[in-house]
Symmetry: C2
């Protein structure tokens, strides 16, 4: 089993972050994780953060893309993988970006 790779955000190009956010499913995941963060939750498992009805392989790939772009962080807990938004780091690297995206996502 892979140990999850979490890039240093300073190594992540803006285009990669935008690409990770440019998919409806991944946007939903990011929104769910932000909601969990606001509610001071413990993080969310894949199947909780993703829209229902999607094939597992597809969901897994979306999480890999989000991890690769430095947007989320994963840790294993029992059989589950728990995810968290890397909010503080993202805000530092790209100030206002996630706010604007989540804001826009909430409005639609």
């Amino acid at each position: 089993m892979t140990r999850f790779i979490h890039p240093n955000l300073s190594d992540v190009p803006l285009a990669s972050v935008l690409h990770a956010l440019s998919d409806p499913v991944r946007l939903k995941i990011v929104r769910a994780l932000d909601q969990d963060r606001i509610a001071e939750g413990e993080g969310l498992a894949c199947n909780c953060a993703a829209p229902e009805g999607l094939p597992r392989a597809t969901v897994s790939n979306h999480f890999t893309v989000l991890r690769g772009a430095g947007l989320i962080e994963a840790r294993k807990e029992g059989t589950k993988v728990i995810h968290r938004l890397r909010r503080p780091e993202l805000d530092k690297r790209f100030p206002g970006l996630l706010d604007a995206v989540l804001n826009a996502a909430a409005a639609t």
Copy 2:
């Protein structure tokens, strides 16, 4: 010759805008157009806004993507096609988004 299609921004999903912005070449184009806007220019032709050395077909496609996402507006002037950022409309539809992206792009 095609008449350019400029979608109503209220019809454009957030994911499409982010996808249009998620490419280094298109980011450069958007930045160049924003610089031109700040300088109160008349807009830029394809070959002025895009990085040099790219094949024409590729550049043309990138502009088509940007138009399709409602980010830019095109008009014909002689043999050229002049482009402008749809800044006010974008800011209204997705407040803060373009600012954050251009800001982030400028920092890198």
